[in-house]
Amino acid sequence: MAAAPALRELQRDIETQASALSKVQKDIAKNHQVRKQYTIQLGENELVLKELDILSEGANVYKLIGPVLLKQDLAEARANVRKRIEYISAELKRLDGTLKDLEGKQNSKQEAVLKVQQRIQALQTGKSKS
């Protein structure tokens, strides 16, 4: 009799823990998605930088801005691409840190869910015995 409300409370507990866990897992999935995009962009920018670097100084470089092809200075283009590469690398590092955080949170939430599950089982076996 006293066990029933305790059981209900534990069940509510496990629901909140489980929803928190699934939220963390969704965040981790989003992190992976954004990381993938950034990694692709980083690769593309590095290719562009390689091409720009092997150009001789006089070569013409154009940038597509919307429907307009604008002539760009080679040094400026190189600097822009380098800055972009730096920015993307910094973002990736930041995402790495966030990912580690989220994974730690996921593990602790999983442990919490497991503990509540065990308590529920113990309670249920206790009830069936009595």
């Binding site: 593309e44 920018n45 290719l47 720009l52 013409n60 154009y62 940038k63 092809l69 283009a77």
Partner: protein, 157 residues
């Protein structure tokens, strides 16, 4: 090199562990492996398509260089609309190098660019083929052991 050794180690670990794992665990692992193999094969196809397109571009470039200035041609405005025009200067080409940047190159440099890209894609392709075959062998091993376990458990039950 280190990653290949890591994959070898992972493979050997799996074969000995596979015997100890339950049918359910094996099934989960096999599904994961299958998904990985499919992804890798998808990437392989994409690389092949990209390499083909680059080769077509290279051929087109070469073709263009053979024609003299002033030659009449049809310029595509959309997929079904062409406009008559005159070939102006085939000595210079604009190469799309990515992220919105275009570089003016001579015909020879343009061909060289295509060659370089094709070679890059080919080497990526070969690496991927290697990885794909390794993953596929792991997935096949998992499948075999899974079947063996199922056969073992069904006559006994």
């Amino acid at each position: 090199m280190a990653s290949a050794k890591g994959i070898e180690a992972a493979n050997t670990i799996r074969v000995s562990d596979m015997e100890k794992m339950s049918v359910d665990q094996l099934r989960v692992l096999k599904e994961q492996s299958d998904i990985e193999v499919n992804l890798l094969q998808d990437s392989l196809n994409k690389i092949r398509t990209a390499a083909t397109r680059l080769e077509i571009a290279s051929t087109a470039l070469h073709d263009l260089s053979l024609h003299p200035q002033g030659k009449k041609m049809l310029v595509p405005l959309t997929a079904s609309l062409y406009v008559p025009g005159i070939l102006d200067d085939a000595k210079k080409v604009l190469v799309d190098v990515g992220t919105g940047y275009f570089i003016e190159k001579t015909m020879a440099e343009g061909k060289d660019y295509c060659e370089r890209k094709i070679n890059l894609l080919k080497s990526n392709f070969e690496e991927l083929v290697e990885m794909t075959s390794k993953k596929k062998s792991v997935a096949d091993d998992l499948g075999l052991i899974l079947h063996a376990k199922l056969r073992q458990s069904s006559p006994s039950s």
